[in-house]
């Protein structure tokens, strides 16, 4: 069964350092999402891609976060510099429309 792959699964970084997350969506899925989920809360959409184009990044803190999806396949989410409040689970999902498939996520801890 096809899955959304994310790496790394866990990441510990010091504040002010740069960190990057990678997502490989299910083959053929044009829509790709990045979410941030703080413990005890629902996922919050950071950025949405349709192929290689950003559809929605209204909730992305653009002073420190960036996302790209070159060639409309895999995607990278970067944080520079990381802050203590960025500690969360970062989830990637892909979709053809009806149903979104999520990866296992990357648990980020900023110390």
């Amino acid at each position: 069964e096809a899955e959304v792959a994310q790496s790394p699964r866990y990441k510990i970084t010091e504040k002010s350092q740069a960190v990057a997350f990678w997502c490989d969506p299910i083959s053929g899925h044009a829509t790709l999402y990045w979410y941030r989920q703080i413990l005890g809360q629902g996922p919050e959409l950071l950025v949405q891609f349709q192929d290689e184009s950003v559809v929605d990044d209204s909730q992305l803190p653009k002073d420190r976060f960036s996302a790209e999806r070159l060639k409309g396949v895999d995607s990278t989410l970067k944080i520079q510099p990381a802050e203590l409040g960025d500690s969360a689970m970062y989830l990637c999902a892909s979709s053809l429309g009806r149903e979104a498939f999520f990866g296992q996520g990357t648990r980020l801890t900023v110390v």
């Binding site: 959304v4 044009a30 829509t31 999402y33 979410y35 809360q41 629902g42 996922p43 919050e44 959409l45 949405q48 349709q50 559809v55 929605d56 689970m89 989830l91 999902a93 979709s95 053809l96 429309g97 009806r98 149903e99 979104a100 498939f101 999520f102 990866g103 296992q104 996520g105 648990r107």
Partner: protein, 112 residues
């Protein structure tokens, strides 16, 4: 996008039926109702989706009244492994590129 309201938490016992109601008073004509399940330290997983009346699959049933202003997810005969957070989403999911907005979800605890 229609906002949804669902209970924060629910407790149940093994073997019982769990019903979670979601309110979406501002649902639009093209909107579908979708439910996701999330276990700790995992990404959400699609459970069921419907537009009107009743939808049933091997996991759950979804009941949608005629006015579509609410919906009820029904989990039959729950087990301990059904302990999770359940999210109700409303949107035009028939089209690609739709926006998925999650609320706080309902934490379901199944007790032995």
């Amino acid at each position: 996008l229609a906002k949804t309201t669902q209970p924060i938490s629910m407790d149940s016992y093994e073997g019982q039926e769990v019903n979670i109601t979601c309110s979406h008073n501002n649902i639009a004509t093209n909107d579908y109702i979708t439910w996701y399940q999330q276990f700790p330290s995992q990404g959400p997983r699609f459970i069921i989706q419907g537009y009107k009346t009743k939808v049933t699959n091997e996991v759950a049933s979804l009941f949608i009244p005629a006015d579509r202003k609410s919906s009820t997810l029904s989990l039959p005969r729950v087990s301990l492994s059904d302990t999770a957070v359940y999210y109700c989403l409303v949107g035009d999911y028939a089209a690609a590129g739709n926006k998925l907005t999650f609320g706080g979800g309902t934490r379901v605890l199944v007790k032995p």
